[in-house]
Amino acid sequence: MTRLRAWLLAAALLALAIPFSPTPATAQGIPQNIPRKELLILENPEGTIKNAGWFNIWAINAGSQSNGLQQAALDTLWYIDPEKGLDGPWYNSLAADKPVYNADFTEMRVKLRRGLFWSDGVEFSSADVKATIDIQVKNANMRFSAVLANNVASVEAPDAETVIFKLKKPNSRFHTNFTVRWGAVWILPKHVFDKVEDPAKFDFNKPVTLGAYTLHSFDPDGKWYIWQLREDWQRTSLGSLGKPGPKYLAYVDPGPPDKRVIAQLNHELDVIHDIAPEGMFTLAKQDKGTRAWFKGFPYGHPDPTLPAVIFNTQNENLKNRDVRWALALMIDVKAVSMAAYRGAATISAIAVPPTGIHPEAYHKPMEAWLKDFEIDTGKSKVKPYDPTVGKQIAEMLRPSMGDQIPSDPAVIGNSFGLGWWKTNVAAAGELLTRAGFRKQGNQWMTPDGKPFVVRLMVEGDLRPVMTRAGTMIVQQWKQAGIDARIDVAQGTLVTRRAAGDFDSFIGWSVETWGGHQDLSYFMDSWHSQFVAEPGKPQPLRNWQRWTHPELDKIIEDIRKIDFDDPKGVELGRDYVKLMTREMPIIPLMAYNVFTAMDQTYWTGYPTSDDPYANPVTNWGNSRYMFVRLKPAN
């Protein structure tokens, strides 16, 4: 038996020794052979890439896009920043200037920059742009085939620096297809694709890049990609803005939120794309080097999207705007903000995201109109707008968060938002009554005598913060006497959203440029001509399947004016007023993304103090961050 004991002891010691022997304990996830101070490690929110060796972004649904491919390797004509930009939000990237349309918007002329080269030494020219359109129009199975085929009659490249698009119909916003906010139609290398038989089945490995970086190495299991700064980085559009700081970029899959937090605490992940608010608070508390968009509360970077309760307006009960307004008045947005973001949300009462330049263009100018806005419930007249809700949330948080909460009202307005609808269950009841609903005990019944059931669809784990907001709203509706139910559609939400198989869901049908006041980004697709029959798939983005003659008029007016025409803002305000009266969606807040940036190895990240770019790692625009990053010490 003594021998047995000795064996057991030896085995135990061996087992303990193995993990610590081969590599130092800190080296969990940082690459070997690359100096850490030359390397920026970013999260690729797409997770593990199943077909890691696929770089042909022009094929449908294949490979990764935000593994560095669209951030560091590809390029297109223009970029628009959701924030202020390095030198204004508009970038001429491959194009030398803004697009020039003819009078009836049926032709777009683009002048290209010269002196830009592909990573294999071939010079970029108008032929590449023409090939990008021609190849995708010819092969109908490619990512941008449909949109290009729909718009473009022909492309001409009269010389190396000029491209002329002849459009099939007037379109004053055609250039936006080549303008990166998150992504766009990327320009492909003609000299590579010319040799390819079927461009949809070509893996483009190793990619020939037009961006400042080339592929260094990648994991065949799809967990990481490493990109290296090109020797000739000056011959790229990004290089003209200065030398990018990091010599190497690693886009990695760091796992679920808690692992991301652990990785950044260990300084093995410089930029986290997004985490739960609690994870953000932990990082802010435990890691002095971590910086988020806002220095203090509410930290997160507001995306130019507008999470809202989106109603299926083809649903019999929800057709009536009184019912939709009643449901809005039952919501206490303070509690929703607490539940979803622990208060770290930027609320918005109107149907424009409270981000980028929108507060200046819409929210602040419309404050007066909102304060006067009145609804007639049939029994009483109510002014539902409470301009102090943002401040109330800040005050609610101050006891527990202390100094992290700003005290300057202007800062509060920017970070927490301005006002929202005051909870008014009584007025909501009056509205429901007018709509023919009756209250039986504590339960609202529909006009035909059935319990008023509202299912609120959420995406579960895939959008945790939205799921949390939905849970809270359902609880508030329940307390107000509605048979509300949460409906977790993890993985099925997109299918059901398109099919109209929902009563309501948390999501966004409003999504904008952020850095530009133009609203056509989402609004054009809201025209009644695109609304599908109940049960038929609805094209994006009018998920609420809502139509209104006034809306159609606004859309048609916008189509006729230029992208930068100041009239666009006025039309936008008309849209806001219409949306407020009709309430087809209940706007809640900006989609705050908790992008956490670790300043241990790199400094100079974009923040609310210096809002030159969007730090969110998967956006194509995030590349502008690279030229500002400097090694720490």
Binding site: Q28, N61, A184
Partner: protein, 334 residues
């Protein structure tokens, strides 16, 4: 010899039955899915861009063509079986146009490696310690192990994996908690990569081992404590055989046969554990692939992974069954 032939024939028939039932189950279940892969792809393509509604309709129709979703269920069923037999499951919809089989082919070695190594360690160690505990019933260390085994064994894989993650990834962060190997290593038979793979597999393997150990330990202990009363053991002891020889060739050797059968019976359960463990530790195996495929609504991949797992586990069982006569010559008793 006839007894062996009959035995092998029986095992083979059982193998075919298992694969047939399992694969059909997988086909039927997947084809009832409400997820429309076309909508899923369109959503993925258009989620961040502004695409005109007319373009979507065009895309929808070309995708249906591309994915080969036109055709009746019966036609798809026939195609499916011919594909299974050829080991080709068509293209993955969420990683189009990469074939499902190559995705599985990449993930399978990870899972197989993790599973085989940890199962062998678990089985050998659990049976060894359990055997000793059954034989030396008064030994305190072994008794304590029994208590620990009873405490750990019934806990589900997920909880153990989570506890290991908390301990070694957070409270005492000494081990990698995600991925199959470190970044920027050339995959192949080189020391940095192999040692990195070994380090990365410690926690996933440990959670599989901790759970499995208990069941083999307890099973073997009770088997051995019954076998020590068997006549041939008593007789060998009576003859003054060396106690190690008695323990090894008489007690353990005879307890082994049922434990080998047990191994075959529990392969499916062990595979379940691997799926969960892989997901917790972000390990690049078929378990992660399966869960991700479910999230992505990629039914070609889901079907492929499920079919391959069913076949792989059945083959594992068949192999053990075919090796069984080496361990116990009395096949006619089975």
């Amino acid at each position: 010899m006839n007894a062996y032939l009959a035995y092998f024939a029986k095992r083979l028939v059982q193998f075919v039955v298992v694969v047939f039932i399992g694969v059909n189950l997988a086909f039927v279940i997947t084809h009832a899915s409400p997820i429309d892969p076309v909508e899923q792809s369109i959503a993925a393509v258009t989620s961040f861009g502004s695409t005109a509604p007319e373009a979507i309709a065009a895309m929808r129709s070309s995708l249906q063509e591309l994915y080969g979703l036109k055709g009746t269920v019966a036609e798809q069923y026939v195609t499916f079986w011919s594909r299974v037999l050829r080991g080709d499951f068509g293209p993955s919809l969420s990683a189009f146009p990469t074939p499902v089989s190559s995705l599985i082919g990449r993930a399978l070695p990870w899972t197989a490696g993790l599973l085989i190594v940890s199962t062998l360690i678990t089985w050998v160690l659990g049976n060894l310690l359990g055997g000793l505990a059954g034989y030396y019933q008064r030994n305190r260390t072994l008794k304590l192990m029994g208590v620990v085994a009873m405490g750990v064994h019934p806990i589900p894989y997920y909880i153990v994996a989570l506890m290991l993650l908390i301990i070694f990834g957070f409270l005492w962060p000494v081990l990698p908690i995600t991925g199959g190997s470190a970044m920027n290593l050339q995959q192949g038979w080189n020391w940095p990569f192999v040692s990195s793979v070994a380090r990365h597999s410690i926690l996933p393997a440990l959670s599989l081992i901790l759970i499995g150990l208990g069941s083999w330990f307890l099973g073997m202990r009770s088997l051995v404590s019954n076998i020590v009363t068997e006549d041939y053991v008593v007789y060998a002891e009576t003859a003054g055989l060396d106690s190690r020889r008695v323990l090894g060739s008489y007690v353990m050797r005879n307890a082994l046969a049922p434990q080998v059968t047990g191994l075959a019976m529990s392969l499916g359960g062990i595979f379940n554990g691997a799926v969960i463990t892989e997901k917790v530790f972000g390990y690049p195996g078929v378990g992660t692939l399966l869960v991700d495929a479910v999230y992505a609504g990629d039914y070609g991949l889901v079907l492929g992974v499920t079919t391959v797992s069913i076949i792989a586990v059945s083959v594992g069982v068949l192999v053990i069954d075919l090796l069984y006569p080496l361990i116990d010559p009395r096949v006619e008793l089975r």
